[in-house]
Amino acid sequence: MKLTKISGQTGTVTTATPAIKSVTRREFLQTSSLMAGGSLLATGLSTGMMRKAQAADAAKPAAANTKIARTICSHCSVGCGIIAEVQNGVWTKQEPAFDHPFNLGGHCAKGAAIREHGHGERRLKYPMKLVDGKWKKLSWDEAINEVGDKLLQIREQSGPDSVYWLGSAKHSNEQAYLYRKMASLWGTNNVDHQARICHSTTVAGVANTWGYGAMTNSYNDIHNAKAIFMIGANSAEAHPVALQHILKAKEENHAPMIVVDPRFTRTAAHATQYIRIRPGTDVPFIWGMLYHIFANGWEDKEFIRQRVYGMEEIKAEVAKWTPAEVENVTGASEAVVKRAAQTMAQYRPGTVIWCMGGTQHTIGNNNTRAYCILQLALGNMGVSGGGTNIFRGHDNVQGATDFGVTSDSLPGYYGIEEGAWKHWAKVWDVDFEWLKGRFEAGKYEKGKDKDGNEIEIGVMNTKGIPVSRWIDGVLEDKANVAQKDNIRAMIMWGHAPNSQTRGTEMKKAFEKLDMLVIVDPFPTVSAVMSERKDGVYLLPATTQFETYGSVTASNRSVQWRDQVIEPLFESKPDHSIMYLLTKKLGFDKEMFKNISVKGEEPLIEDVTREFNRGMWTVGYTGQSPERLKQHQQNWGTFDYTSLRANGGACDGEFYGLPWPCWGTPEMKHPGTANLYDTRLTVAEGGLNFRANFGVERNGVNLLAEDSWSKGAEIQDGYPEFTADLLKKLGWWDDLTEAEKAAAEGKNWKNDLSGGIQRVVIKHGCAPFGNAKARAIVWTFPDPVPIHREPLYTSRRDLIEKYPTYEDRKSFWRLPTRYKSVQTPDHAKDYPMILTSGRLVEYEGGGDETRSNPWLAELQQHMFVEINPRDANNAGLKEGDDVWVEGAEGGKIKVKALVTERVAPGVAFTPFHFGGVFQGKDLRDKYPEGSDPYVLGEACNTAFTYGYDSVTAMQETKCSLCRITKA
């Protein structure tokens, strides 16, 4: 109402026009530093200017009590740098990190709103439990004791596999590593995280093609691309800062940008060619392109001869995909497919980018391999500007995957074979037999040994239940689950449930559990989704801004985060909670044997050093905390395009030591910015394809031919290195005596001294050998990637020709249905194709972002996008409430958004909403004061059954629904 008196202006009340006071401001504006800042942020291209601006920044006297923290955005995998200013423990300002090589200070809505984490007004504030349907506050001691006692009781009754440890892509690397270790020492492989439902098919498909299942180049390397091919990737919303790099290539290299997507996305709006395909027809589309490439001889024949195995079989499959058939299946005409093929052939190197549009399918692994094969055929692999730039999802989903928070591998993709366990037992300094004894003694599954004899597989070596299927692990008849008992306790540690399909069944699963433990900064939808009255515990965890540690961006760069603020309320960082829990469960001694614990907080640097000692396969061994911190302090010295430091403390190293960073930290390997690039020596970050699939198959050589990385002393293909091979080559004596002692009988993956890697690299070779990439993965259900219609398809006429798989009795411990789902005609009642995706304002299940008012204000309603044609036919208007009913009966009540973004017959829903279930608002079920600002129906309530044939990735990109006015 009333105007406050203007301080210090009492004598000027009669001044007609308030004078502008600041001489200083004017002075500032006249200085060149501001102008430099202006042009820097405008072009974002010149590092010289960048440093000037930085200098101007540094010159500014900060308040005496101001602390500057350098941290990394905790939303997506781009890994944007953030400069946080903290005064008296309060996060008061967020400044753009102009010198950070990934984002040059740029942020999307989420990154620009990250400081709101410092407010945390909607956080889960105390440990709580549900008693008679009411939330009751607990002390940490009570909470840990009650949860621990129940876990031990379940372990006693049903064995360790009845507890499911659902981890998170939001962990730091150290926390992720500890999490996998904790589950392992508890004695189960029932541990998983978001990677299962985001890029597991990429990891499996890509790793099985050429060695490592990760983004091969980097966001920055896209600057060098001469063409950009994006399929199933809406980076403008999912990875906005990636567009900074993509648009740079588009504008400065004149690179055509092809976007293939069922939906006309914000990314498509910037494309030079946009191609709409029917959801789930990626393989036919890629084969359609290859049809033209092969027909016109546009493939890189020399590259294929030297470095690719199995392309002939691909050609045979591709020949079936005539332009007419491609058009019939995908909807894309010959002319457009040919034009895309021609563009990619004409402009090389071109990069291929994909995201969840390609991965989340029952044939996700076929899709990802098809994309790889396109790049192999074009010879775009192992070159700057080429590669498969697979944009991972969460900020540390790459790291959490690398550290094996998955039900099928230990850290470093060692797998869960006995050798892997022995390796890690040695790194952890625990007795292997003790470790084995922690697991269930019986056998669940039968397998085949190397000679093809049927053997029983130990529980320790049996893949656990994946997160996509945990509900079946709870609900499925005990007799059908390949373990001693159903899952009885769920630990949801930083994982939203609404990102998983089959919401209606998930609700039942939540209700059937003996105990549900939610460890998260927010209560999440898990806390409110079910009708449970008790047996739910909420343990408040911190965000990554209240702790510190390393995080791996999509491009494999490992970045160090400072702690910004102290833990808010009573929350504790994940690793402290893990310590408390393992102490209660009685294996803290083994777990933290070589990690010092201060009070209740394990020392992060010790954890980093411990994994440095064991992560030889993927080269997480050179990134010591000291080196990572040095990179963090020298952001500005790294080149914006190559990521290589130009002078300074990290001279010659790639930013964040992108793995593989071979050998010990002392070896000072610079990291590998672009994978498989033979133009550099291995010591400089060069590589070739990995020899991981044997040396020959059916008499055909699998090793590379006439191709090797620069400076290799073996100028041909070679297998992976072992102690024996070193001896044969006469390199053994290059090892020191200590290294020899450690390396004897070992190979490059389990020699803890790092000597084998050191010597091999000294001789210019890649520790993992030098082989061809394989276009056919003979260990997969579809060795040659083929098209199979989705389980819920509207093209019934194609099922006969492109049927799905047969049902499986036991797949990841569970019966898995394919054909029996596809056979009934669902399209009759559910005519619309339903697909899902991201919004820029929200992330994942959205509990965090929907609790941030700066973001929540921008997306206040869950909606479904429908084409005007469908809307008119159904009598719907923009903004109407509609029911979207999934083909399995799950219904969501949402707002209609009528738009031509989607084709007629296709409906799109974002997946970040939760807190409303089938029309019922669950707001009053949240603990008081911790309900997100925005609630909405979870699209996955309507999404249906369907799992990838290799990784059990859920199908969320292609289902069926019907939409009616509510």
């Binding site: 007609a16 502008i20 500032f28 102008m35 740029g106 919303e237 906005p240 946009y274 010959e334």
Partner: protein
């Protein structure tokens, strides 16, 4: 003398709304007030473009002209500020501004709008001491006084939103235009929307009209650009 301007490059803007939340971050404006917004035109159609809009800090500002209490002031740097102590919340600036920049905390009955709020180019308010708590409470941060530019532009994810001295901004923009023109000459092309238009069972739709004229069947080379030959530079910058 510098003249501070914003310019949003619609070729780069991807509607990530980073500028919108950066503004909230810098100025802690409450829910309901958006000093900056991103508008997308031709949503979902070829030619879709987004643009970020806020106060343009006009040289001859209409808000300033119509204010019944003359509470606006143009700083020597060309930033249009207003005095919230003088502001009476009449809404005239809101009518006059072509860009919809003025915002009001409430839209209450009896014209109870509260004090007008708008983008300050992160230059705080006209009256209070630079970066005083009082200034922050009323106007948000004063980055200009610290030698920094508005946070929205500094944080723009794709460097679409430019801020700074008009001559620097237009130099950068001109450079981009030249780059893109070269790109067009060398074979870049306009958007082509093509592909899947399925018939939908059960909805009575049996066929969908083809995207006539959009599919291209150029046998060789990249299709020619269909760019209108225009050299006119629009003048969102004064």
């Amino acid at each position: 003398m510098a003249r501070m301007k914003f310019y949003c490059d619609s070729e780069r803007c991807i509607e990530c709304n980073g500028c919108v939340t950066a503004c909230k971050n810098a100025n802690e404006v409450p829910w309901g007030i958006n000093r900056r917004r991103v508008v997308t035109i031709k949503d979902g159609q070829p030619g879709e473009r987004s643009i970020s809009v806020a106060c343009m800090h006009c040289s001859d500002a209409p808000c300033q002209a119509v204010c019944p209490v003359n509470c606006f002031v143009t700083t020597p740097d060309g930033i249009v500020l207003h005095n919230k102590d003088t502001c009476i919340g009449c809404g005239y600036c809101f009518y006059a501004c072509p860009f919809g920049a003025p915002q009001f905390p409430t839209d209450g009955a009896f014209s109870s709008r509260g004090k007008m709020d708008k983008c300050t180019f992160c230059a705080g308010g006209p009256e209070e001491a630079d970066n005083s708590p009082e200034e922050f409470r009323k106007y948000g941060s004063n980055r200009i006084a610290e030698g920094k530019l508005p946070l929205c532009a500094e944080m723009c994810s794709t460097k679409a939103l430019l801020a700074g001295d008009a001559s620097v901004v237009s130099d950068i923009y001109r450079q981009r235009v030249v780059n893109r023109a070269a790109s067009a000459l060398l074979g870049g092309s306009g958007l082509q929307q093509t592909g899947f238009q399925p018939s939908v069972a059960g909805t009575g739709v049996t066929s969908v009209p083809p995207e006539s004229g959009k599919a291209t069947a150029e046998p060789t080379g990249m299709p020619a650009d269909d760019v209108p030959p225009s050299t006119q530079v629009p003048a969102p910058l004064q």
